[in-house]
Symmetry: C4
C-alpha cells in the first residue's frame, strides 16, 4: 500500500484535495470532483459557506462543551456523516471498506451508495459491532424494476442498515461536461456490485415528434405516490435526499419521510441551482422541527459545519473530501479528513463561545442595516 501513502502531510481538506488531484488519474478525478455543465453550483456550494460570517462571543464558560447531536432517536458524538458516493474502489483498492472502517472509528455516520463497488453486506459486517460508530444508512434510487428494488431494500434491512436514503433529485443524469471531456469510463474490476441483476426496461418505440426523454425514460420516473410503496416494503425510516424547495419539504412530511437532506447532488445534476447554504433555511423553516433536516454540498471546514448547524441542520454529510482522504491514504486518510473536520468544528465552537450545537443559532453574524 506504499503507493497510497501521502508524501506530504495534509493539514486541512484543501491539502487533501490537492494531494488527491495528483494521485488519481485525470479521468477518475474528473468523475469524482467534476460537476454539471459550467460547475457554477459546484463552486457556489463551497463559496456560500465561506461567505457566511461568524459572530464571536467571549469569556463564556466552555468547560464540558461537546459536539453531540440527536438524530432519529440516537445521540451521535458529532454531526458528521459520510455522503453516499459511488464506486469508491476507484479511489483506493480498499474502497467502501476503508471508508466504513474510518467512519466507524471516528464516530461518523455512513451512507452507503447503491452504486457502491463493494457488497453492502460486507460493509455492514465490518462496522456494525463498533459501539461508537455513527448511523449506518443505505442510499437507493427507485428503479423501474420494483421487484429488484424491493429485494435490494430487504437485503439492506437484513444486513443491518438503519435507514434508507432515497435520492429524489436525479430522474435523469446531469450534463457532466468535465467527466465527458475527460473520457471517464469504469475500469475492469469496479462495478455497481449491488445492482447486479437489475432489469433495465427496453427503450420505448417513439412516434415522430416524441421526446426520447419525456416519452421514454421519464415515463418510469418515481413520483410522490411511490414513497408509499417504498414505505410498504420496509420497516426502515426513509429519508429523502435532494430536497431543495420548502414545498417539497412539506410534501416529504405528508408522505411520511423520516427526514430530508437538502442537497443539490454536489452540483452534479442541474447547474445553476443555488448553493445548499442558501437553500437550507427555507427548508428548515418549512419543516419547523417536525423532521430532521440534513445538508450536504461544499462542506470543507469545521466553520462550515458550525454554520450549517446554525442554519438549522440536524447533521451534515461530507462527500468529496472523504474520497480525497481515501485516495490519499485509504482508511487512515478518511479518518484524517473526518478528524480534521471535527477538530476544526470544536475550535470554531470554542472561538464563537458556543458550548453545544443546540446553541449554534447565535453564531452567525447579522450584518447591521445602515
Amino acid at each position: 500500500m506504499s503507493a497510497h501513502t501521502p508524501t506530504t502531510t495534509p493539514g486541512n481538506l484543501a491539502d487533501h484535495e490537492a494531494l488527491a488531484a495528483r494521485r488519481l488519474d485525470a479521468a477518475t478525478w474528473a468523475y469524482f470532483n467534476g460537476g454539471a455543465a459550467d460547475e457554477t453550483t459546484l463552486r457556489a456550494n463551497v463559496q456560500a459557506w465561506q461567505q457566511l460570517k461568524l459572530a464571536s462571543r467571549v469569556l463564556r464558560p466552555l468547560a464540558g462543551g461537546h459536539t453531540r447531536v440527536r438524530l432519529l432517536g440516537r445521540t451521535l458524538t458529532h454531526p458528521l456523516l459520510v455522503a453516499p458516493m459511488a464506486h469508491q474502489r476507484l479511489a483506493h483498492p480498499d474502497g467502501e471498506r476503508a471508508t466504513a472502517l474510518a467512519a466507524a472509528a471516528l464516530g461518523a455516520g455512513l451512507v452507503l451508495s447503491t452504486q457502491a463497488s463493494t457488497p453492502l453486506e460486507d460493509v455492514a459486517r465490518l462496522v456494525l459491532s463498533d459501539a461508537d460508530r455513527g448511523p449506518l444508512w443505505f442510499q437507493l434510487y427507485l428503479q423501474p424494476d420494483r421487484g429488484f428494488t424491493r429485494d435490494l431494500v430487504q437485503r439492506a434491512e437484513a444486513a443491518g442498515y438503519e435507514a434508507l436514503v432515497l435520492t429524489v433529485d436525479a430522474p435523469v443524469s446531469g450534463v457532466r461536461d468535465r467527466e465527458r471531456r475527460a473520457g471517464f469510463a469504469l475500469p475492469p474490476g469496479v462495478s455497481a456490485v449491488n445492482l447486479q441483476g437489475l432489469h433495465t426496461p427496453p427503450a420505448a418505440v417513439l412516434q415522430p415528434g416524441q421526446s426520447a426523454l419525456f416519452d421514454n425514460l421519464l415515463t418510469r420516473a418515481p413520483t410522490w405516490a411511490d414513497i408509499a410503496w417504498l414505505r410498504s416494503v420496509t420497516r426502515l425510516p426513509v429519508l429523502l435526499k435532494g430536497i431543495t424547495h420548502p414545498a417539497d419539504a412539506r410534501l416529504a412530511m405528508e408522505h411520511g419521510a423520516a427526514g430530508v437532506i437538502v442537497s443539490n447532488h454536489g452540483g452534479r445534476t442541474l447547474d445553476t441551482l443555488p448553493p445548499t447554504a442558501e437553500l437550507l433555511p427555507a427548508v428548515v423553516q418549512a419543516v419547523d422541527g417536525a423532521l430532521p433536516v440534513l445538508v450536504d454540498g461544499g462542506i470543507r471546514r469545521g466553520t462550515d459545519v458550525l454554520k450549517a448547524m446554525a442554519l438549522g441542520a440536524s447533521a451534515v454529510l461530507v462527500g468529496r473530501p472523504v474520497l480525497h482522504g481515501l485516495a490519499n491514504g485509504g482508511a487512515e486518510g478518511v479518518a484524517h479528513v473526518l478528524r480534521l473536520l471535527r477538530d476544526e468544528l470544536e475550535i470554531a465552537m470554542a472561538l464563537c463561545g458556543c458550548r453545544q450545537l443546540s446553541d449554534a443559532a447565535s453564531v452567525l453574524h447579522q450584518p447591521t442595516r445602515t
Copy 2:
C-alpha cells in the same frame, strides 16, 4: 469538406465556440464573435442567464412532458429559432443553406438575415417542404430606398417566408472595435446577394456645424410611422426585433406588430445596454400576453432557454453558437448545436420537475429576503 470536420468532439456550446475559434481566421472570428466597444453587454448577455438560479421540484409526474410551444398560430416542437446573422458563407462554404437544412431537420425556426450570402429563394426552396421544420422568417431593415424594400419584402413573401422580422435597433452601426482592430473585410465571393441593386442615397451637403450623422444618415432613419407603410406592402406578420423598453413594446402593439424580439443586437450596437435577461421581464409585463415576446442574446445552455421561458419568453433565438456549429461542421455542426441545446433543455426541465414550458414560470429560484 474534410477541412471542416471537427477533430475533437464538442459536447456543449462552449466546446463548439472554442473549436470554431481555432478554425476561423482571426478577422472573421472578430467579426462574428465581437461586440460593440468594450463588450460589456456582450459578456453580460451570457452571464445574466447564468446568474439566474433555478428552483428544483422533485417526484412530480414527468411522463408525457414535452417542449412544445405555440407561436403565431403554430405549434412548434421546441422554442428554438436561429437568429438572423449576415454572411454565413464566411463560416462555411455551404453558408445559409447548411444552417437552414439543419434548422429544418431539428425542427428549429430560421430567421434569414437580409444580409445573407445566399439568395433568399434558394434557402426557402431547401426547407419549405420539410413537414417538421420550424417557422421560416425573413429579417430586414427599412432601407431609405423604399422601392427596393417593397420589392425585397415581396420576394420574401413570394418565396414562402412566413413572417418579417424588422430590426429596429440599428439606425447606425455600433462602434465595433474588435472587428476594426482585426481589419475585417468581406472576402471576394461573399456578399449581401439579396441587396443587389439597393440604391444608397448620396450624402447630404452639410453646413458648417452640422452633424454627419444627425444631418445626413439619420434624416432617413425609420420611425414608428414607417411601420404602417411596411404593413401596407405585405400580408405577412411583422415582428420588431431590438425592443428593449416596455414603452416601445406598447408602441409596437399600437402599431400592429405581430410580436417583439427583446434583443440588444447580441451586444453589437450600443455597449452598456443591459443584458436581455434583465430586460425581458419588463417587456413581458408591458405586453401582458397580447403579443408573443421572443428574446435573444447570450443563450448558451438548455438552462438558459428554460430561464428565458420562465421569464415569459414565447421562444428563443440563438445566434453565434449556430455560426460556431456551422464553422465546425456545416449542416451537421449546426444540427449538433441545436440538438445539444434541446437535449439540455429537456434535462433541465426534468430536473426542475417541469413537464411543459407553460409551467416554466415556477422554475426560477426566488431568494429569501432576510
Copy 3:
C-alpha cells in the same frame, strides 16, 4: 516630428492610452496616468461610467438631432472641454499649443492649467480668433501670495480667457505613490512658466507637538472667505473645480460661483473618494439648475459623455485621454481623441433614440425592483 507619428492606428481612447504608454518614458507616464495611493478612485472613475446602463428607445425621429449645449450664455457645438493639466510639453514638444489648436478646431472648450508649460498669452493668441472654438478658461489655485495671484488673474483676463476655474480640492498634494516610485521629476526646459516670480512664504517655526501641515502650510489654505476676494479682482465668472459634496455646491452658489465642476481631481488627491459618476447626481440636485454643473474623471467613451449629461451635467471635461492623443500625435492626436469622443457620443445618442442632449435624462436604464 516623425518620432511622434503613431505606427498603429488607434480607434478608440483605450487604443490611444495603450499607444501613449509605449511612447512616453516610464516616469512621465507615472506622472500623467497615476493617481493617489492605491488608485482605487482612479480606477473607480472609469468603471463607474461603464457600469451605468443605458436604455434604448427605437424608431424615434432622429433627423436634425445635434449635440449642442448652452453654457454660461454661449451655445457650444458639443459638451466636451479639455480639463486643465499641467506641463503638457512633457507629452509632446508642442505641448499646450497643440492641445489648444486641436480643441479649437474640434469646437471643444479648453481649460488651461495654471501650471501650463506654455505662456498663457501664447495659448490664447493661437485660438481666440477661431470662430468655432469652444470656451477658453484659465485654471488657478489661490496662492498665499495674493499679489501674484491678482496679477495672474489680470494677465488671464487681458489675454482673453473667458472664465476662471478655481481648483478648491487640493489644499495639500495627494499621496502620489506611483509617481514617487517612478522617480518623476520635471526635465530641464519644462516648467510652470506662468508661475515665475511666485513668492513662496518661508516655513513656519514649529513648536514641539505642532504639525508641519496644520501649523504651517495649511495656515495659508484658501477658505470660502477668499472667494469674495477673487471675485473682487476680476470681472470673469469663477467656476469652482473639485466640488463633490452637495453642501459645498450650495455654498458655491451662496459665494457667487458661476458654476461648479464635480471632480475628484482625477483620483490624484484623496484616494477612496467616490467616483464622480456617483457624486454628480447629488450636486445636480443641490444646485437645482441655478448653476451649470460640469464633471470630469474617467470619461473614456461617448457613452460616458451621454451618461454624464443624463445625470445632469452641463458639460464634461476630459483629461488624460487628451494627453494620450497629444503624446501620440501632437495637435493631430488630440483632435483625433476629441473626434472619436464626439462621434461615439452621436452614435450613442442615435442608438438610444436621443435627438438632443436636453432629452438625455431618459437614456439611463432604471433597474426594475423585484
Copy 4:
C-alpha cells in the same frame, strides 16, 4: 546591521510589506503575516477599510488643525498605538526594544505582548522617561496558573505599564494553516521570556467520547467571572481586546473594563469573522461613549485611520506594518512606518476638510439611495 538596511526606499506601508517579505525567511513570514484557515478575515480586514468611501469638504479653515485625541485621561499627539505582537526579535535583533524606542519617538502608544521576546522591564525602562511618548500598556492572557498571572501583572505594574490589555478572543489557538505549511518553529534564542516559570497543568485523563478540547483545555478557559479577579490584583485599568459583539461590549462595561478593543486578532484565530471595520459601529453604539473603543486589523493607510475615527474609534492599533518596518530597518524602520501613517492621516484630514478628529464623523461618504 547592514543586513537590515533597506535597499530601496519604501514610501508607503505596502512598500514596507513587500520589502519585509523579501528580507524575512519564509517560515517567519508565514508566522507574522499569515492568518487562520483560508485567510478570508485577514484579507477582509484590509479591504473593508479601503472600501469605505470618504466625503470631501472644501475651503474650510484648516489652520491649527491637529490629530490629538483624549484616551484614558491623557491627551495623545495622535491616535496610533502599536498592537501587541509576540516574538519581535524574529523580525530584527533589536526586537521589542526597537519598536518601543520608535513608538516613543513618534508619540505612538505601545502595547507590549505577553509573549514578547524581551523582558518587559527592559522595554519600560527604555521609554518611560520620554516626555512625548504615547501610552505604555501590557497585554496578557488569563493563564490557568493564577499565581503566575498575578506575579506577571504586578511586574508590569511595577515596571511602569499604565494599563493592562487582556486578550479575550483566543481560548484556543486558531487553525493557522499557512504557518503550519511553512513549518514555522521558534529559533534558538527567541522565546517568551516573560512567561518563564509559567506552570502548564497536566492534560486531563479523558473518558471515551470526551473531547480533548472541551473536556480538557477549555475547562480552564477564562470567563467573565475572572475579570473581577484580575481587577482585584491590580490597580491598573483593564482593557479587553477581542470584543466584536455589542452584547460583549455591554458586558465589558458591566464588569468594569476601562475600554474595549474591537479586534478579530488580525484574522489569526477564527476565519470568516467579519472585518473589524464592519464590527466597529455596533460596538461603538453599544458602548455609547461610556468607554473608549479602540480597533485594530487591516489599517494600512492614513485614510484607514481617519475612517476608523469616523466610525467612532478612540484610537487605532497597528500590527503587522510595524513588524514590516522593524524587519526593514529596526527602530528606524518602525519610526518610518508610524511617520508615514501619521503624515497620510494629516493629508487625508486636510483633503476632507477635517481639522480635528472629533469632527471625523462627517468624513464618510453616505451613498444616496436611489
